[in-house]
């Protein structure tokens, strides 16, 4: 399992893996926003956390269709299916590797983009923390979509359509936790706790459902 984790990590970080494309896309999306809403620094500081969250959500959706597609193309998906280790565990490890390869760089890149958005230190820290807590949930939800669409020839767009509605609660609580940290009256902990709860919930549901979908799409 650890070998699988590092194999996936290496595959996505090295050339052609597309892990860095996600970060690049994230930066581009965030950089486009000031052109749309105008370079008003106060406005950007106010909507900054929300923009970072939306950008991170879109960027992590981008690589999801490759989660099982590459394995299916070279046939190693069948080997993973036939293994003796439970498929749920395999899917979980693959999700973890995917998160480490695409989600973690987004979290690392977010403070710099936060500076672009004229956010203060507290807002940047809160955004980073909530992204760290919420990005795994997006990966686990996305695994279900990727497993469902793995047999489709052009499943990439469909994955986003299927996954986005389910990822909306993550976005809501991530953004509200960030704003709660910045603005005084609202408490930070309750939305953050709910965000963690969503992540844990989908860490269980996601791999189980993705494993079921993979099994059924194989035969």
């Amino acid at each position: 399992m650890i070998a699988l984790f590092f194999r996936d990590l290496k595959l996505s970080v090295r050339a052609g893996g597309g892990a860095m494309i996600g970060v690049l896309f994230f930066m581009t999306v965030v950089a486009v926003i000031p052109f749309g809403v105008g370079p008003d620094l106060n406005l950007l500081a106010r909507i900054g956390p929300a923009i970072l969250w939306i950008g991170a959500l879109l960027a992590s959706l981008l690589g999801l269709d490759r989660l099982f597609q590459a394995e299916r193309e070279d046939g190693s998906l069948d080997l993973l299916l036939m293994q003796e280790t439970p498929l749920v565990l395999t899917v979980f490890v693959k999700c973890a590797a995917h998160w480490a390869a695409t989600g973690l760089p987004l979290v690392v890149a977010s403070p710099f983009l936060g500076l672009f958005m004229n956010m203060n230190e507290l807002a940047i820290g809160a955004t980073m923390l909530t992204l760290l807590a919420g990005a795994p949930a997006i990966t686990f939800i996305g695994a279900v979509g990727a497993a469902v669409a793995v047999a489709l020839p052009r499943g990439g767009l469909l994955v986003s359509i299927l996954v986005l509605p389910l990822a909306i609660p993550v976005l809501i609580f991530g953004v509200s936790a960030t704003y709660a940290a910045v603005e005084d009256p609202a408490p930070f902990l309750p939305p953050f706790m709910i965000l963690l709860a969503i992540t844990l919930f989908f860490a269980v549901i996601g791999p189980v459902a993705a494993a079921a979908a993979l099994k059924h799409s194989a035969d």
């Binding site: 279900v144 489709l152 469909l158 389910l166 459902a209 059924h216 799409s217």
Partner: protein
């Protein structure tokens, strides 16, 4: 096949599509007639009862809005049960049921959203608010559309049924969120006033037409659902007949 063997004794007997078609043919006219009857009564009641002292005539929107919102959730529940039937019992009709329920559910959700919007404009002063109930119903609508797109994207009905069943079950987490969103969060949408443990808090003047309309909508849903299932079975038969015809056509030209 003799007429006798078409009798349905157990639920699993429905797995035979021919039996189901026979049953559907028998009950569809009755269901449709009952639905029409309840609709006539419900519409008559909803236009003759008194308007609200505060909301005036716009309260009548409720008689369409609330039943279609209930139906949108019930339809998803029916789909989730069918998805269980597909994955656990491999019931051959379960995937037909789930597939044909999706467009109906999407229509009811759309109706609930649109009527809610019409009602929100005079009462709240806005067409749309991003509060928890409205947002979660909108998410439900998007999920219906995603499921329809997924069903369309796959050629093989058996395989698409199984993967979309997984997705339906994952999406079911949204249904309790919709139901309890008005209690968990402080929303503009009013909390539940009919389905409560301590009895409905709504005035009987409004409750009577509402319940009649709810029964009418439920009957309409089952009529449409059974008709759509029948159509789906027919469509699959036509497809397989066409495939057979194509195969035979090829054989005849090849063998002189």
């Amino acid at each position: 096949m003799s007429e006798n063997s078409l009798a349905i004794r157990k639920f699993s007997d429905l797995a035979n599509p021919t039996r189901f078609l026979a049953l559907a043919d028998r009950i569809l006219p009755w269901l449709a007639a009952l639905a029409a009857l309840f609709f006539a009564a419900g519409l008559w009641l909803s236009f003759t009862t008194e308007g609200d002292y505060q909301q005036g005539e716009t309260v009548r929107i409720m008689y369409v809005h609330v039943p279609s919102a209930w139906l949108s959730m019930m339809c998803y529940t029916v789909m989730a049960i069918s998805a269980l039937g597909t994955l656990v019992w491999r019931h051959p009709l379960a995937d037909v049921s789930a597939k044909s329920a999706a467009p109906i559910g999407a229509s009811f959700t759309f109706l609930a959203l649109v009527t809610g919007s019409f009602w929100g404009k005079p009462m709240w002063g806005t067409w749309w608010v991003w509060d928890a109930r409205l947002t979660s119903v909108f998410v439900l609508f998007l999920m219906y559309l995603g499921l329809i797109a997924l069903n369309r994207a796959m050629e093989d009905p058996a395989r698409s049924a199984r993967v979309s069943a997984v997705l339906i079950l994952v999406g079911f987490v949204n249904i309790p969120i919709i139901k309890f969103s008005v209690e968990w969060w402080n929303t503009l949408h009013q909390p539940a006033s009919v389905m409560r443990l301590d009895g409905p808090t709504i005035d009987p003047e409004f409750l009577r037409p509402l319940l009649v309309m709810a029964v009418a909508f439920t009957l309409l849903f089952f009529t449409l659902h059974i008709a759509a299932m029948r159509n789906e079975i027919w469509r699959r038969r036509v497809t397989s007949l066409r495939r057979q015809a194509a195969r035979h056509a090829g054989r005849e030209t090849l063998a002189p």
